[in-house]
């Protein structure tokens, strides 16, 4: 469990990054912090492994104030995956994945055995083990980043826009695989993104932040879509734009879901149609 208690972060010079933030993240839950740049979402996440220390307030992991923990040891116990993977360019794929276990004093041999298993888990060919990061595609680098984050088998996985630098198709694959992994691994995931679609896909709960790190709404994707707290949230999730404002049109005896611009988004299946009942009978 991760707790933020009245966290405030002011930088020297008076920049207020976080005013007053509180949140409890349950174990095995995935929470996505989403907001535009300048919303302080990355700052919040980096407070968990003490890359940033709050000016006031507490961050706790399983009840322990992180300020009382040795930062180096804390960081070795928390998985961290960052944008453009942050891999060490002078280390091979295998050595990158074994970084944290080796820092924790696990023998190189054991760490490597585990790294090979992890490469398989995240869908990397074994032949890539001896390559350097610059020799990999963006998607492969991100997979290595995820494998490295998981290598020490941490309970907590922090992910800072981990799929931001890859093309949409690869991003989609990586997102699906992350969700697949999470079903088996049940880590506590804190995920930072500016992409609301990614947030709704990955988050059990989503925290929507305004600039200045003010919480606009916290809830499950369903809750937020069903009842946006205000205009900011509605506009942020796109409820007021075409892509999320869907209705059903009947074409050739089938229910076609159409967005506000009239673009077909999909077909309403029997299961969904039965639940939504009369919705299928009310074309625009």
């Amino acid at each position: 469990m991760i707790g933020f208690e009245n966290v405030r972060k002011e930088y020297p010079g008076g920049t207020l990054a976080v005013e007053d933030f509180s949140l409890e993240i349950a174990s095995h839950e995935s929470v996505v912090l989403v907001g535009t740049s300048g919303s302080g979402k990355t700052t919040l996440m980096r407070m968990i492994n003490r890359m940033v220390d709050p000016t006031s307030g507490r961050i706790t992991i399983d009840g322990d104030d992180v300020a009382s923990l040795d930062p180096v040891r804390l960081r070795r116990s928390v998985g961290y995956v960052m944008q453009a993977s942050g891999l060490l360019p002078h280390r091979t794929v295998l050595d990158n994945i074994t970084t944290v276990p080796v820092l924790r004093g696990i023998s190189k041999r054991d760490a490597r055995t585990r790294a090979h298993e992890l490469m398989e888990t995240v869908g990397l060919e074994a032949a890539l083990a001896v390559r350097y990061p610059a020799q990999l595609s963006g998607g492969q680098q991100q997979r290595v980043g995820v494998a490295r984050g998981l290598a020490a088998d941490p309970n907590i996985l922090l992910m800072d826009e981990p799929f931001g630098a890859v093309d949409p198709i690869v991003r989609g694959e990586l997102q699906q695989e992350l969700m697949h992994l999470q079903r088996d691994l049940k880590k506590t995931i804190v995920f930072v993104t500016h992409d609301i679609d990614e947030a709704f896909l990955i988050g059990d709960r989503v925290v929507i932040l305004r600039p200045g790190c003010v919480v606009a709404q916290i809830g499950t994707p369903q809750e937020i879509l069903a009842d946006p707290a205000d205009d900011f949230v509605a506009s942020f999730v796109g409820a007021d734009r075409g892509t999320r404002s869907l209705h059903v049109e009947r074409v050739d005896g089938r229910d076609i879901v159409v967005d506000a611009d009239g673009r077909a988004a999909g077909v309403l299946t029997a299961h969904a149609a039965a639940r939504s009942g009369p919705a299928g009978e009310t074309p625009s």
Binding site: R76, P89, H90, L158
Partner: protein, 216 residues
């Protein structure tokens, strides 16, 4: 040519003492430049100051420096120590800005990511920052090595044994072969050292070799 064959022992001895004079300043310049560059990079104004000072230092003509140095540090005029100190200063003048650039060439994101993985500060410096600064550091060391090897010859004018002494002596006595031997061997020594450094760099920094084999 016969002069060369008759004086192989002398040439070998001069080459040996030339190398012995060149090596320590190169190593001293490298070793001292690392902490100085780190210090310079920590403050913007300090970096500007260090870069300017280095440039000025290198502008001091070498022969006067060799002559003046004994007066300043109290050594005898022919002491090899003068040469060693003067060459170390020239080496530093080249190496500190190079090292400063080298550390600045290391990606902040990679360093921050290393910290997030749990590298302690010292381990991060030696295992991440220093190796990643390696390619630019090496470029600096190559310039310092070649420049130092050629500057050692100036000591020959003062009577400190080196390959420089061969062409000083050759001029005085009108032996063309001796002048040529001094000049050619100095150049050969510089080129060989440079090649050795390149090979050393490839061995120590294998990741720089493979950049070109990029996968789509």
């Amino acid at each position: 040519m016969s002069w060369v064959l008759e004086n192989l022992d002398l040439i070998a001895a001069r080459t040996g003492s030339h190398l012995l004079q060149a090596l320590p300043p190169i190593l001293v310049a490298l070793a001292l430049s690392l902490p100085l560059a780190k210090l310079a990079n920590s403050q913007g104004w300090l970096r500007t100051g260090v870069t300017t000072t280095s440039g000025l230092l290198y502008a001091i003509p070498s022969l006067p420096l060799f002559v003046l140095l004994p007066g300043i540090i109290g050594t005898s005029v022919r002491s090899p120590l003068n040469i060693a100190i003067a060459l170390s200063l020239y080496g530093l003048a080249l190496m500190v800005p190079a090292a400063s650039d080298a550390f600045r060439s290391v990606s902040r994101d990679v360093l921050s990511s290393a910290t997030a993985q749990g590298y302690a500060p010292t381990a991060r410096f030696f295992q991440v920052e220093l190796p990643l600064a390696g390619p630019v550091l090496l470029a600096g060391v190559r310039v310092v090595a070649v420049s130092t090897i050629s500057l050692v010859t100036v000591g020959g004018v003062l009577g400190v044994p080196s390959l420089g002494m061969l062409f000083v002596d050759g001029f005085r006595r009108g032996i063309i072969a001796e002048i040529a031997a001094g000049v050619v061997l100095t150049a050969v020594l510089a080129v060989l050292t440079d090649a050795l450094l390149v090979l050393l760099g490839r061995a120590l920094m294998p990741w720089t070799r493979q950049r070109s084999v990029r996968r789509p």
